[in-house]
């Protein structure tokens, strides 16, 4: 027979065959069972009619300040709610007000005796309302809090599930590779994003490394992440080209991808023996490489996974020189904000990477830098994933048991690339290297010398370049040092693409570094700013080591 609020919905109940509430009636909706005496007095026709009293309706303000029960028949308000009450044959409305807030009404039909409600009736109803209102309000608050707690629990449960899924797919241990220091960090945000990383051992001894990020958060993102993880693993076990792996994974994911979701992913294939790394990128952040005191990006781009079928991914190749770091990372790091909503950004990350440390020490320092930036009260906005690889120093170290074979300087003139090549070939002749190794070394030396002539000497006879050759029990190491007239040689030039060159979209030149990287087992470029020189160090094993 009455009323309820929150939101301001008032129920009008009319009795038809008694006052019993429906068995499943919510006890916090006192419409039909309270007050029983009044309901009984309301007559035999009890039927539920919902009457909304919107806050904007004049009746709302009227009832909120009314001192007691209100005769509907005497109301002179332009009010749709009043009309609705009249249509429902409500004679008396008793506002339920507590702490100045209208939380509901008791709506009564005409008395069965057909007499008006007496003063005693009204006093009784007013007293009842005054006592019932706070109790109902308390009940409402309890219910709201229970609903809120249930919602929180539901979200917490979802987060637990998402975290569980996420953690199931993170590697339990990192690859252990001689001469490599590998570290990884995954820090979920409270809402758990869809970050992941993975290491896959490929049949030929190389290592596949994936870092990815699913748009969206929670369980849906975790499920897409799990599926992407599985697809990448499956494809990596039979394909060794990162571009093909991403392309195939994309084709498998497109038909399954939920609306408005996609996955950014970087896939790298590393040959631990040589440091050669091939990278393909589906819309993920570009990895940073720190080498010889400079930090550069490896520029590989492509469309995220799951958007369009038939995408091909370009591959970028390079060699991680001894003493160099590679960092793969997700958005959570660079897109973190400080209290002024300024973003951490790529430049801060790049600056932070200039420091020479590695492994978990590097990751700890990056996270500390981020914490300093965001401040102590920052709540992490997105998952943060970091993977770093460091090739140990000493891979090209010739100090221990090395023997100097030759050392010479040549004028920086065109043609002396071949002269340098021939002299190095002569110097290593007694080592009886396999002929194909000698050919590879020769091409690498001539290309390094050509860079020295072109960038280091500007083709000037009076600006020489130096070549040193040493041999260790396992390797031949050649250092080509130039006078760096043009500054540092770019170590991450655009990857030569023959089709684009033939189409005129790329210059015919630009093969030098690309060829060197394919010829030798390791290349390192380092600058000595004090001496104004730059040195390219080439290392080639004396015997074939790779399992191609």
């Amino acid at each position: 027979m009455t009323a309820l609020t929150r939101p301001f919905r008032r129920l009008v109940d009319r009795s038809t065959d008694g006052v019993e509430p429906a068995p499943d009636h919510d006890p916090l909706e006192p419409a039909t069972d309270a007050p029983a005496g009044i309901a009984a007095a309301a007559g035999a026709d009890l039927a539920s009619i919902a009457v909304d009293i919107p806050e904007a309706d004049p009746l709302f303000a009227y009832l909120q300040s009314a001192p007691g029960p209100v005769d509907v028949g005497r109301l002179e308000l332009e009010s749709p709610a009043v009309e609705a009450l009249r249509d429902a044959d409500v004679a008396l409305v008793v506002p339920l007000v507590t702490q100045g807030e209208l939380i509901g009404t008791l709506n009564l039909g005409p008395r069965l005796s057909e007499q008006d409600y007496s003063t005693d009736d009204r006093r009784l109803l007013a007293t009842l309302a005054a006592q019932a209102a706070p109790a109902i309000r308390v009940a409402q608050l309890v219910r709201e809090q229970a609903a809120e707690a249930a919602e929180k629990e539901r979200l917490a449960q979802e987060l637990r599930v998402a975290t569980l899924i996420q953690q199931q797919f993170l590697p339990r241990e990192l690859p252990r590779l001689p001469e490599w220091q590998i570290a990884a960090f995954y820090g979920p945000a409270r809402a758990v994003g869809g970050d992941f990383y993975d290491f896959v051992e490929l049949p030929d001894g190389r290592i596949g490394i994936a870092v990815g990020d699913v748009t969206d958060k929670g369980v849906p993102a975790a499920l897409v992440m799990a599926r992407t993880h599985s697809v990448l693993r499956a494809e990596a076990s039979r394909l060794s080209s990162p571009g093909e792996i991403l392309s195939r994974a994309n084709d498998l994911l497109v038909p399954e991808m939920p609306a408005r979701m996609f996955v950014t992913c970087l896939f790298a294939v590393l040959d631990p023996a040589t440091g050669r790394i091939v990278i393909a990128n589906a819309g993920h952040n570009l990895p940073f490489v720190r080498s010889g005191g400079t930090v550069t990006e490896i520029r590989a781009t492509g469309m995220p996974l799951g958007l369009l079928p038939g995408i091909r991914y370009e591959e970028v190749e390079g060699t991680i020189a001894p003493d160099s770091n590679v960092l793969l990372y997700s958005d959570g790091l660079v897109e973190a904000h400080d209290s002024d909503r300024e973003m951490f950004g790529f430049d801060r990350l790049r600056d932070a990477l200039v420091v020479d440390d590695a492994g978990s020490e590097l990751l700890d320092r990056l996270l500390e830098t981020l914490r300093t930036f965001t401040g102590p009260d920052h709540e992490q906005e997105d998952d943060i994933t970091l993977v770093t690889l460091r090739r140990s120093a000493g891979v090209a170290d010739s100090s221990a048991d090395s023997t100097a074979l030759t050392s010479f300087s040549l004028p920086g003139l065109a043609g002396n690339d071949r002269e340098a090549m021939d002299r190095v070939a002569a110097a290593v002749a007694d080592l009886e290297l396999p002929p194909d190794r000698v050919d590879r070394l020769k091409t690498a030396v001539s290309e390094a010398a050509m860079n020295a002539i072109e960038y280091g000497s500007h083709g000037r006879a009076d600006v020489p370049f130096d070549v040193d050759v040493v041999v260790t029990p396992t390797d031949v190491i050649v250092r080509v040092t130039d006078r760096a007239l043009s500054g540092p040689v770019p170590t991450d030039p655009e990857t030569p693409d023959l089709e684009r060159k033939l189409a005129g979209d790329q210059k015919p030149r630009g093969w030098g570094l690309f060829l060197i990287e394919h010829m030798v087992d390791a290349i390192d470029v380092s600058a000595d700013e004090a001496a104004g020189t730059q040195t390219v160090t080439l290392r080639i094993a004396r015997e074939e080591k790779r399992h191609d």
């Binding site: 065109a414 043609g415 690339d417 071949r418 090549m421 194909d436 050919d439 590879r440 091409t443 001539s446 290309e447 050509m450 030569p496 023959l498 089709e499 060159k501 033939l502 189409a503 005129g504 210059k507 015919p508 030149r509 630009g510 093969w511 030098g512 690309f514 060829l515 394919h518």
Partner: protein, 110 residues
């Protein structure tokens, strides 16, 4: 001292025109190779054989010259094949993918 300067000669053969090269294929071969291709173009031959049999050295600038020549030949609708490459330079032609755009014939057989 061995003369390693680059030279190129265009020779008409029953199976098409052949560009016989000798010496070092590097930046200094630029003009010679450009002139040689003009001669090939005037011959109107639908096919071109690049003969590397007497080329002892190719650096990345030389590769760039081959790329330019290949682009010109493709523009003119002229098929290109390469003979006389050592196994090492065959490998370089594979790495650079030049071998995807021209037939590499083992040895120096015509």
């Amino acid at each position: 001292m061995t003369d390693r300067s680059f030279g190129a000669e265009v020779v008409g053969r029953p199976d098409g025109v052949r560009l016989q090269m000798r010496g070092d294929l590097d930046s200094r071969a630029d003009e010679t190779l450009r002139d040689a291709y003009r001669e090939v173009a005037t011959s109107g031959s639908p096919g071109l054989t690049l003969d590397f049999g007497e080329v002892g050295y190719i650096n990345s600038t030389g590769i760039a010259l081959v790329v330019r020549l290949l682009a010109d030949a493709r523009r003119d609708g002229r098929g290109v094949r390469a003979v006389g490459l050592t196994p090492h330079y065959q490998e370089i032609f594979r790495i650079t993918r030049l071998s995807d755009f021209m037939d590499i014939v083992e040895g120096d057989a015509a």
